[in-house]
Every structure is written in structure tokens, then in C-alpha cells.
């Protein structure tokens, strides 16, 4: 049996994995209720809305009755999610009927929200203290800059260049997952690292935040505090200044790390210091649901495999270099080509063809993004073909059996292997048999019984 491993797929899975006590504590905070609600699948949101003002439990049956046969799997997913996050509290009565009730704290907070509206997590500082705040454009540029710098660091440090000033434990987080560094060797980007670069910004951001939170656990911090602070942060108003004094110690250190990523900008006044959330921070809870990302693309791929990328960013250039041959660079344009060699290079680094294709599609220039397909079909097909070129041999862990005592035992073993779906190859003349690795235990028991 393959080992069952639970991988936190997105941030909310991480929240759902928290123990019940801590989850209930999180729901004390109205912002978290709001953020959690927004992260739910649409159908689950609908159920919450429907139950919001119902104080008694509703039977599972009555909810199921609304669902059309096609939607049953979606219904199941929604209910499971609600139970996982303890938004629905399940109870089973004497007649063995399941019924659900909204988590009272969650319900109370949302009801208040609807009537009284949301308040701000903390008051922005008056403008007479904060002398000059950056304009939204400046702030945006700052955030993008900081973020690209950070990613660029990942690329360049993999190429053995000198590191820039990032707080050490922050960088360690990423090296852990994204770089493989052996002693006496400059760190090399791992398979995950390359895949990471091709993700969209929100996914990258959440990946890092996840790593950050799990590393906080190692440092002896309570992840609940961090999670609630991060969710709270996304409800601050972008571009307003907030006093650093209003933060707890844990939050202060978190804010400093987040400033390195471009989520907040720190400024120092005469007496006080403050932080200004950028768009990256306020978008945190938007991107909780997987599919909402809005970004203008920049890449045009032609049917002759030439690639034009309208970007002046060094980071974009580095990312494209991962799988394409960059030929020349103009101030706002990168010209290159997708070649067999450049792709082989990418495949060797553990990037898959699908990832490259989805990157090209996600970042297609608005002019070509309107077309379907946005990347020419012959190019995508060729990328897939070149990829399968490398995978002519498939490796399956397996066991080899020979020296069967008799033909009967051999044939019985073959039949049994077919029956359990582990059969790979046989040679009846020499009485040899190859069986999938996972079927080995069953085969052994079977052969023992034959004796």
C-alpha cells in the first residue's frame, strides 16, 4: 500500500487541519469568519446563507432533497468542507438521522456582520502624523518590485550568485522545499523550485505563507496566531498607515518578514513607525479560492515556435529562460524560441510539459488571450510530444519470481496475479513471473498457501 500522506493543498486545508478547540477560537474573530466563508465552494456558501437565520438543526435529508442528481458530488464536497471547518456542527439523533446546525459563534458573527456591517480591524493612523504616504501606484510598484526581487533571488541563488539581504529564516523556508542544497555545493533549485516559478502569483504567495506558518511551528510559535493575523491583514485598507504599536510581539516579527515579500511597506516617522498593506496583502483572502487571479499576460507564441514576451522584468526573462532559448532582449521585449534543446533542459529540471503549457496560456498577451486556443495547437502538441519522447521507458517497482516447483503452481500464481491486477509479465517456458511491487505481499501469502 502506498503511504497515505495528507498534503495541505491550499491554505484553508491548513485551517481545517487545526484542532477543533483552536478552530473555535479562530471563529471569535469576525474577520476570520468572513474570510473562511469566502473561501468556501459556492454551494457551501449557499448553504451557510440559507441556514444563517435558522436556529434549529436542519436534517441532512432536507438539504439533500434540494439537490439535483447531477449535483450530488458537489453537494457532498460542500458538506464535507463545512464539517471539516466546523462551520456545520453535526448531530445524530435517536432515529439515526443526521442533522446540521451552524457553528453558533460563526453564525453570530455573520449575523452581526449583515446588520451592523464590517468594522475595520484597526484604525488607520491620522494623516497629520504620517507625513507622506506612498500613492497607490507607488505602493503597487513597490509590492511588485519586492516580490520580483524575492523570486529573482531564488533563481539567481540557484545559479550560485551572491544573496541579497533577506532575513535568514525566511529564506531558509524556501530553501527547504524549493532548493536542494548539499554541503560544499552551491544550492541548486529542486524540481519543486522550478514548478514554483511557473505558478501564478497568488499560488506562489500562498505556498510561501504556508511554508512560513509551518516553519513558525518549528520556532515554537502558535500557528493559530499567525493564521488569524494573516487573515486579518487582508481586511486592512490598502494604502492606509497602521501603527506598529497596535501589534503584538508575534505580529511585529511577522510584519517584518512580510515586508520582505512586499505584502506590507514599513515606514518610520519621527516617533512612531507604521506599516502600509499593499495589494498583495489585501488580496490574500481573495485568492483563498483557487481560481480567482487577475493578471495581464505578456507572452505571444507563434506557430513557428517563436516567442515574444512584452516585459522588462528580469524575473520574467529568467522564468522564460527555464524552458525557452532567449535570443535577444529589447527594453520592453524579450524575443526567444521554444526549441527541443531548451525544452529538454526544462524537463531535466523536473518541469513538466503541462506546466509550461499552462504557464504560457495563463500569461498569454491580451491580444492572443482572446483567441482559442491562446497558444497555437501545434506548439502545445509538440511540447507534449517532446516530453513523451523522454518517457519511452516507464518504471514500475516490481518483484521477479522464478524457480517455481511445478507448472501448476506457476500457472495458479499467474492467474492469481491477474486476478488481483498485479500481473506484468510471464515466461511460461522458463517459468518466470513479474508482479507489481504492491502485489508482492498478496503473492507471498498466496504462494505460501500453495505449499
Amino acid at each position: 500500500m502506498p503511504q497515505v500522506k495528507i498534503i495541505a493543498k491550499n491554505f484553508m486545508d491548513m485551517v481545517a487541519a487545526l484542532p477543533a478547540m483552536k478552530l473555535d477560537k479562530l471563529y471569535d474573530n469576525a474577520f476570520i469568519c468572513e474570510a473562511v466563508l469566502r473561501s468556501l465552494p459556492p454551494l457551501a456558501k449557499k448553504y451557510v446563507m440559507q441556514m444563517l437565520y435558522i436556529d434549529v438543526s436542519v436534517t441532512a435529508k432536507s438539504l439533500e432533497e434540494q439537490v439535483l442528481p447531477d449535483g450530488f458530488s458537489k453537494h457532498k464536497v460542500a458538506i464535507d468542507r463545512l464539517l471539516q471547518l466546523r462551520i456545520f456542527v453535526q448531530s445524530i439523533d435517536r432515529k439515526r438521522e443526521t442533522s446540521y446546525k451552524l457553528n453558533p459563534k460563526f453564525q453570530d458573527n455573520l449575523q452581526k456582520y449583515l446588520v451592523y456591517g464590517g468594522s475595520l480591524p484597526r484604525e488607520p493612523m491620522p494623516t497629520n502624523i504620517t507625513v507622506r504616504l506612498p500613492s497607490p501606484e507607488e505602493l503597487e510598484a513597490y509590492a511588485v518590485d519586492q516580490w520580483e526581487n524575492f523570486l529573482l533571488q531564488l533563481v539567481t541563488s540557484a545559479q550560485g550568485e551572491k544573496q541579497m539581504g533577506f532575513s535568514s529564516h525566511l529564506l531558509k523556508n524556501f530553501q527547504r522545499g524549493l532548493m536542494s542544497s548539499r554541503e560544499n555545493e552551491s544550492p541548486k533549485m529542486s524540481e519543486h523550485g522550478f514548478q514554483f516559478l511557473l505558478m501564478d502569483t497568488n499560488a506562489q504567495l500562498w505556498y510561501i505563507i504556508r511554508e512560513y506558518i509551518s516553519s513558525a511551528q518549528d520556532r515554537g510559535l502558535d500557528p493559530t496566531d499567525l493564521i488569524s493575523f494573516l487573515l486579518e491583514l487582508s481586511f486592512h485598507v490598502m494604502g492606509e498607515a497602521y501603527n506598529m504599536n497596535s501589534l503584538t510581539e508575534v505580529q511585529t516579527s511577522a510584519v517584518k518578514d512580510l515586508a520582505d515579500l512586499g505584502l506590507v511597506k514599513l515606514q518610520q516617522g519621527r516617533k512612531e513607525s507604521w506599516f502600509i498593506p499593499t495589494k498583495l496583502a489585501t488580496n490574500l483572502s481573495v485568492s483563498l479560492s483557487d481560481t480567482s487571479a487577475r493578471k495581464q499576460g505578456f507572452v505571444v507564441i507563434e506557430t513557428n515556435f517563436r516567442m515574444y514576451a512584452y516585459s522588462s522584468s528580469k524575473l520574467h526573462c529568467e522564468i522564460l529562460r527555464l524552458f525557452a532559448r532567449v535570443e535577444y532582449q529589447l527594453p520592453n521585449l524579450i524575443v526567444g524560441a521554444i526549441t527541443k534543446e531548451s525544452l529538454y533542459n526544462a524537463f531535466e529540471n523536473g518541469i513538466t510539459g503541462e506546466q509550461i503549457i499552462s504557464f504560457l496560456q495563463l500569461n498569454a498577451h491580451p491580444r492572443v488571450a482572446e483567441k482559442i486556443p491562446s497558444v497555437p495547437e501545434n506548439v502545445t502538441d509538440q511540447i507534449r510530444l517532446w516530453e513523451t519522447d523522454r518517457n519511452r521507458v516507464e518504471m514500475i517497482p516490481s518483484h521477479f519470481y522464478d524457480d517455481f516447483p511445478s507448472k501448476d503452481v506457476f500457472e495458479a500464481a499467474c492467474d492469481y496475479a491477474r486476478e488481483i491486477g498485479g500481473f506484468l509479465w510471464e515466461d511460461s517456458n522458463k517459468m518466470r513471473l513479474i508482479v507489481r511491487g504492491e502485489a508482492h505481499q498478496d503473492m507471498r501469502d498466496f504462494l505460501r498457501r500453495q505449499k
Binding site: L37, L43, K45, K46, Q50, L68, Y116, G117, S119
Partner: protein, 300 residues
């Protein structure tokens, strides 16, 4: 549908809800006397949290509120415009903004009524539907990224047959742009216009049995985003009243004369079509052979 495109930049459930509320004073004053139905103040107190709930469900959701008066209609609120954030802890800032705007609108609508001597009791639904559609078209044209729009009519006053043509045109253009029109009827009678509107555009039509529980109807039925609707069994009206209004006297009829050229409907026999000018009894004296005598009955 654009769902085949691989780059889905907006999540499936991001919606733009255009809510049309009926501010007809004739309806609300009679409604207040009736103990079982809502007063206008209660009605607004159900609608405001509903708007808030829509915006709560997704950060990118957008709400537009349009008031339908007797003589005019107006945009009251648009959540995409910047608003001042003065939360005093009692009430969200936008609630008070909506209330003041509504008050202004109602008094303006009243002044218009005084100048105009022709007294009508029905609300200008065709006007507010057109405003809603214009707004949605503007969103469509703003770029390839837009939320999924839908219209919700909260209507109390009875249908105005004189608006038949305008409303039907609005319904058909909504159908063309695939915008569902949901309708929640608060009056005592079903609205034939809205039944047809929801039926044709694939929206939900509901006439709440208990109007004082309006918020529950709104949040349980009308807050459902378009994607989830395809998985759920939502309330369906028992039947749709397909009766049309005649073009000549604006009366609702179930039997009448139809111009064979432009399909205009008349309750009486005419010599010439008033819409397209076709002459009906040119070649033959027998009128019944040139005129379609078509019967329209409500569907059971």
C-alpha cells in the same frame, strides 16, 4: 458559453446582482394597512442585509440598486464606486447612503407625479429593467473580465399593461445576453410580466407565501449564484401567464388580432396596422382570412 476557455480568470461564483426595488407609494400605502404584508420600512430592512450578504459572499461580487418609481427610475447604489468608509459601529456606511438616496428619489418621483396629470398606479418596470440592462452591457463592454450578471426584481405593484412592449423588449434583450431575471413578487397578485421574464430568461420566479420572512427567501433562494443553481432544485412557479397586452388600448387580452407582417397585437379589428402600416383589407373583403385569429391562453 465561454466556459471552454482554459484561462478562467474569475472564479465561477463571482456575480453582479442588479436589484430593482419597487418604491411605488400606491402599493406600499395599501400594503401597510394590510396586517399580513410588509411595510416599506420593513421591506428595506430586509433588502439591505441581503445586499450586504451578496457582497460578503465574494470579495469581487458587485451589487447595483435601482429604484423603480411611478414616473422615473434611478440608480441608487453601485458597490463598485468608491464610497467613504465611515463606519460608526451602528450601521454600515452604505446603508445610510442608500437610505438618503432613496428618500431623495421618492420625493423627486412625487414631484414629477404632480406635474403629470395622467394618473397611473403601476411602477415604471420597463424603465428600470432597461437601466439594469444598460448597466450590464457597460460591464460586458468594459473588458473580457466581468462577473456573471443577473437581475432581481422586487416588485409589489401590479403590472402596467401600457408598458407591455417595453418590458417584452427588455426581456428579449436579456435573453439574448443570457442574463437571468429573478423576480420576487410581494403584491397579492402574481405578475404576468415577471412570470414571463423569469420563464424566458431562465431566472427564478417566486411569490413569497409569508412576506414578513422576506430575508429568508432572499438569502435562501435569490442569493444562490448561477453556478450553484445548476445543481439545485429551486422553486418553480406553478404556471406562467403568457397573456399579452394589445398595442392599441394596452389591455391584457387572451384573444385578439395579430398583424401578419409585424406580429403586433390588437384587441379590435383595424383597417391598417398602426405599427408597420400594412393594409389589412386590400385584396380581400373577408377580413378573417387575412388576419390571424390566434388564441393565447395561459399555460396550465
Amino acid at each position: 458559453m465561454a466556459s471552454a476557455a482554459p484561462t478562467k480568470l474569475y472564479a465561477d461564483d463571482v456575480s453582479l446582482v442588479v436589484v430593482l426595488i419597487d418604491t411605488n407609494p400606491f402599493f406600499w400605502t395599501t400594503s401597510e394597512k394590510n396586517s399580513s404584508s410588509l411595510s416599506f420600512a420593513d421591506f428595506i430592512s430586509h433588502v439591505l442585509p441581503f445586499l450586504n450578504a451578496i457582497m460578503l459572499l465574494n470579495q469581487l461580487n458587485q451589487v447595483v440598486l435601482i429604484a423603480t418609481g411611478v414616473n422615473s427610475c434611478e440608480y441608487i447604489y453601485d458597490s463598485s464606486l468608491p464610497h467613504q468608509q465611515s463606519a460608526d459601529g451602528k450601521m454600515p456606511a452604505f446603508y445610510s447612503e442608500i437610505l438618503t438616496k432613496l428618500e431623495q428619489f421618492v420625493s423627486k418621483d412625487q414631484r414629477l407625479a404632480k406635474n403629470d396629470s395622467s394618473l397611473t398606479m403601476s411602477s415604471l418596470l420597463s424603465g428600470s429593467l432597461s437601466l439594469a440592462l444598460c448597466y450590464i452591457q457597460k460591464i460586458f463592454r468594459a473588458g473580457p473580465l466581468h462577473p456573471q450578471p443577473r437581475i432581481l426584481c422586487l416588485q409589489g405593484s401590479p403590472d402596467g399593461p401600457e408598458q407591455y412592449v417595453g418590458i417584452m423588449n427588455a426581456i428579449f434583450s436579456a435573453q439574448r445576453s443570457m442574463i437571468p431575471i429573478d423576480s420576487c413578487v410581494l403584491g397579492t397578485q402574481n405578475s404576468a410580466f415577471l412570470q414571463q421574464a423569469s420563464h424566458i430568461t431562465g431566472g427564478i420566479y417566486q411569490k413569497p407565501a409569508y412576506p414578513d420572512g422576506l430575508f429568508q427567501y432572499l438569502s435562501a433562494v435569490f442569493a444562490t449564484d448561477l453556478q450553484s443553481r445548476s445543481f439545485l432544485r429551486l422553486p418553480k412557479p406553478p404556471g406562467v401567464d403568457f397573456r399579452a397586452s394589445c398595442f392599441c388600448h394596452k389591455k391584457t387580452i387572451d384573444m385578439g388580432y395579430i398583424c401578419s407582417v409585424c406580429l403586433s397585437i390588437f384587441c379590435k379589428h383595424h383597417k391598417k396596422c398602426s405599427t408597420c402600416g400594412s393594409n389589412f383589407n386590400q385584396s380581400q373583403q373577408d377580413a378573417s382570412s387575412t388576419l390571424d385569429h390566434k388564441r393565447k391562453t395561459p399555460e396550465a
